[in-house]
């Protein structure tokens, strides 16, 4: 659209023709009040707060629906307009309960702010107000009708935004009311987006309501620990005797890749952190075979000495290490460095949920074709192969829907299920579960690869005609499958790729080399590499055992020690406890998981919300993790690794290059770690001037990662300022197409599950239970 020039309050403004006046004004710093207007959702012109005067137009106009055109003249601020807005507020307050003192939204309420601004303080209203009881619509959604101002944001957010359509408007006139789809309750995805969109306290969150007030919390913007999309979530924490407890997760900070969006897990499933079964004392298995609580000193001493002895007598190759896909990049890097340079083993692995190795290998020389999640919101066309983003990548699904709705992006779906996103699809290619490879061959032009119906052929033509296609694929594709897929895609002009893995840092675990055969940055062990000089002589040159081989070895009595950090392989891989009778097992975790139960030493660990660092989502977007919560007794995996190494007699300074930087700045310099974005500290760490006084400071190792890990040197300032930066595994040195086991085991999580950790979320439980309850009585009658 060509730019037009128009006048607002005497100022000449320019904007593309057709821009909504309310947006044009915001861009120019002219604030126009609004209740019903919500960017990206359909227009309502219902609240009448945005009324402005347009020259030569008899009635006041709504800025939220007025499109700017050349030469228009507007007044947005005058006694007439102020009075109009004041009156509207007065009318609203007439029937409003004015229970701000107990309202969850108090302090975060747009109605409160407006009342303050337009001073509709004294009420002309003398009629009795009708009270109505608050209703619970679902485990997480409560509705307080008298507070509702009928802006219809929730209705649109649920319908247009989420494509769930679980909210409606019923009755008319003053009896109008927001209604849930099952008369007295909701049957929906429980995303809580309606609550976030609600400008007042009409919709409130089951996990937060009446707990505290906004100003009593410390708000920390960090990254969700659940799926591989990496939404930014703002955690509201308040101090309790045991440290700092998370009381709320929401979206105050809309600066993340997820913008407005959070799914049920990002918004509510932080509660595992407050679970009563959290371990806060180290456990040591006594001679009687029972766990006893011991001091940190004792536990670490015992661990260090045993590992040292085993290494020295049986060799590093008799030790196995299993890492996590929810720990930070720094922790993962440190863990493999510890394994390789201190334990002297390449027996290191993690639960792999996607074959990033084959992906990175296939993309060699084309790293500019690796997509960021942000591409999903702007790509003119998207080809989705496999996966069900609505369940497994909610943010991706949101971005795709939004892109289709607002930019008319074309979505092409290839799937063996009728996934929900098919509703947004321009075309769909339904295939059988075992023909994903065939689908690629078919798209490549091989008619024998699939039943080549006319529709299928049209689908193929449409896809191949796309100029800037974004190709997103699930774990249905591995190894050769990925090679073929990328090959096909590289044939299309500027096609970009995204590989879907399941957890908050699955990608980071792979990038940081939690592999028996690959160092960080997918550098093969054995190949000439920069790590050799740095890691010292212990670094083994031959690939180690993968996760399954480790357990086989343990079964044969060939694995003397196993160090498990934030993982539960027992549950995942159904490992028998007996298999580890002759193995010294150390487990770092939040809970006594199946794996922890088999351990000799259990070390209570902090979770992602209780530490600082960075994580990388499945698209390669690296983000800063900030410490929000704190639980007395637990320690970060980073710290524990360093301490164990120290107990083994290793030099912490070799492991973590700390103690550099400008000591004069000690004061503020904890900022970046402790969460409140201390600008000065950000600047310091961005320029690496921040003194790393402690070996437990994860940022002390950032430089080494940047130096050694190909593609992991993002614009540091951006990263530290809390923005997502796209990493490019650019210098990947993998020798092409050496066959290897991908070992991928998809987690098959849904919107309402999240691996072992999800089992400790009361809220996810209650949601699952209420859904099961409903389906069962549905079945009953």
């Amino acid at each position: 659209m060509a730019d037009v020039t128009f006048t607002v309050d005497g100022k000449k403004l320019t904007a593309p023709a057709g821009t909504l006046l309310i947006e044009a004004c915001r861009a120019a710093g002219i604030a126009i009040p609004q209740f019903c207007y919500y960017p990206g959702l359909s227009l309502q012109a219902a609240c009448r707060m945005c009324l402005v005067r347009q020259e030569k137009v008899p009635k006041l106009q709504t800025a939220c629906t007025t499109q700017v055109a050349e030469g228009q003249v507007f007044v947005t601020d005058s006694p007439e307009i102020t009075q109009a807005r004041k009156a509207t507020i007065e009318l609203l307050l007439g029937n409003h309960p004015l229970d701000c003192p107990v309202c969850d939204a108090g302090g975060e309420c747009e109605l409160q702010d407006m009342t303050f601004k337009y001073g509709a303080g004294e009420s002309l209203y003398t009629e009795a107000k009708q009270h109505r009881d608050e209703q619970q619509w679902s485990p997480v959604v409560f509705f307080d009708r008298p507070r509702c101002i009928l802006c219809y944001r929730c209705v649109r957010m649920c319908g247009e935004g989420m494509d769930v359509w679980a909210l409606g408007v019923q009755n008319r006139g003053v009896s109008s009311v927001i209604a849930p789809n099952k008369e007295d309750h909701l049957d929906c995805e429980e995303c809580g987006m309606c609550i976030d969109a609600c400008p007042v306290g009409a919709l409130t969150s089951g996990t937060y309501r009446y707990k505290t007030r906004p100003w009593e919390m410390n708000h920390v913007a960090t990254v969700c620990t659940h799926c591989g999309d990496g939404c930014k979530t703002t955690l509201g924490v308040r101090s309790v005797d045991s440290g700092a407890e998370i009381v709320r997760g929401d979206n105050r900070d809309k600066s993340g890749m997820n913008g407005d969006f959070l799914c049920i897990k990002g918004r509510y499933a932080f509660d595992f952190a407050n679970h009563k079964d959290r371990l806060t004392k180290p456990l040591l298995r006594g001679t009687d075979g029972k766990f006893q609580e011991v001091s940190w000193e004792k536990a670490l001493e015992h661990t260090g000495k045993n590992l040292q002895a085993i290494r020295d007598h049986k060799g590093g190759s008799s030790i196995g290490v299993i890492g996590s896909n929810r720990t930070t990049n720094e922790e993962n890097y440190l863990l493999q460095k510890f394994a390789r340079s201190v334990l002297g083993t390449n027996n290191i692995d993690h639960h792999r949920t996607a074959d990033y190795v084959s992906f990175v290998r296939a993309l060699q020389g084309h790293t500019d074709r690796a997509a960021s999640l942000r591409d999903a919101e702007s790509a003119p066309a998207i080809l989705l192969l496999g996966n069900d983003p609505t369940e497994q990548h909610p943010l991706l699904a949101w971005k795709v829907r939004t892109n289709v709705r607002l930019n008319k992006a074309k979505l092409f779906v290839v799937n063996h299920n009728n996934i929900k996103l098919v509703r947004q699809a321009r075309a769909t290619l339904a295939i059988s579960q075992d023909s994903y490879a065939g689908a690629i061959r078919f798209l490549g032009g091989d008619d024998s690869a699939l039943p080549a119906s006319a529709e299928a052929k049209q689908f193929r033509e449409a896809v191949r005609a796309e100029k800037n296609l974004l190709i997103v694929f699930g774990s249905e594709y591995r190894g050769e499958g990925i090679t073929a897929l990328v090959e096909f895609g590289l044939g299309l002009p500027n096609a970009k790729f995204a590989c879907l893995g399941d957890y908050a840092n699955s990608r980071g675990a792979a990038d940081m080399g939690l592999f028996p055969d690959l160092l960080p940055g997918y550098v093969p062990v054995g190949a000439a590499n920069p790590f050799a000089e740095e890691y010292g002589d212990l670094l083994p040159r031959v690939p180690g055992k993968d996760l399954v081989k480790m357990f086989d070895a343990a079964g044969r009595g060939d694995l003397a020690a196993l160090y498990v950090v934030g993982a539960n392989p027992f549950a995942r891989y159904g490992v028998e406890r007996e298999a580890l009778t002759n193995t010294f097992v150390v487990v770092q975790d939040m809970f006594l998981t199946e794996t922890a139960l088999a351990a000799d030493v259990v070390l209570p660990a902090a979770n992602l919300y209780e530490k600082a660092g960075t994580v990388t989502n499945t698209y390669g977007d690296q983000q800063l993790v900030k410490k929000a919560a704190d639980l007395a007794g637990v320690r970060s995996d980073f710290e524990l690794i360093v301490r164990i190494a120290a107990k083994m007699g290793a030099d912490p300074k070799k492991l973590v290059p700390f103690g550099q930087g400008v000591h004069a700045d000690m004061g503020q310099s904890r900022g970046a770690q402790s969460g409140e974005a201390d600008r000065h500290a950000v600047w310091l760490s961005a320029n690496n001037l921040e003194p790393k006084l402690s070996p437990f400071d994860p940022f002390a190792i950032l430089d080494e990662i940047a130096r050694l890990v190909p593609g992991y040197d993002p614009p540091r300032f951006n990263l530290m300022a809390g923005n997502d930066v796209h990493v490019h595994p650019s210098l990947v040195q993998i020798t092409p197409n050496r066959p290897r086991r991908d070992m991928v085991l998809p987690s098959d999580d849904t919107l309402f599950t999240s691996g072992t950790l999800g089992r400790y979320s009361k809220m996810l439980h209650s949601v699952l239970e209420s859904r099961e309850a409903r389906t069962s009585d549905a079945a009953a009658d």
Partner: protein, 163 residues
């Protein structure tokens, strides 16, 4: 669609619905007439009615309820066999509409939006029904009765009672 679906409506009505949805450029346009006809046959818009109509129009039941609750003639609870709707809007009010309404209350022994125990009559005060020049006026179900006095109103009620 009713062909493969077993309908709770009479064959005639079901057939009418099948045709109705084809009359308009959009299926959904048939919704409001359908609801009225269904209400006339079944007596009120029961959950079953809502479910079948939602299926016929291919929209959600929530959507159907949103619409029902907007229109004053549509009701999800049964009325009396004869629904007496007394207009008390300005033109009728000027000619005794209020008194007529009071009279009906005492005559039927029920209040506004109530139904007689025998289920014969229900009473409702309504807005202008388009009989202003023949006020005061009353609608019993869909039939107009105009230029009424308390006396003539009694005759009307008796006529229905003995119908």
């Amino acid at each position: 669609m009713s062909t493969e679906m077993k309908s709770i409506f009479s064959p005639e009505l079901a057939a009418r619905f099948d045709r109705l949805v084809t009359l308009y450029p959009l299926r959904r346009s048939a919704l409001i007439p359908m609801l009225l006809y269904a209400q006339d046959e079944i007596g009120y818009l029961s959950d079953e009615v809502i479910a079948e109509i939602a299926a016929r129009i291919q929209i959600t039941e929530l959507d159907v309820r949103n619409v029902i609750s907007y229109y004053s003639l549509l009701h999800t609870k049964p009325h009396g066999k004869y629904h007496v709707q007394v207009c008390t809007n300005i033109s009728c009010m000027l000619r005794g509409g209020n008194e007529l309404f009071e009279h009906c209350k005492s005559r039927l022994g029920i209040g506004n939006k109530q139904t007689t125990p025998d289920g014969q009559f229900s009473l409702e005060e309504v807005e202008c029904i388009g009989a202003c020049s023949w006020a005061p006026a009353v609608q019993v179900n869909y039939d107009f009765h105009e230029n009424l006095t308390p006396e003539s109103m009694d005759k009307v009620l008796d006529a229905y009672r003995t119908k």
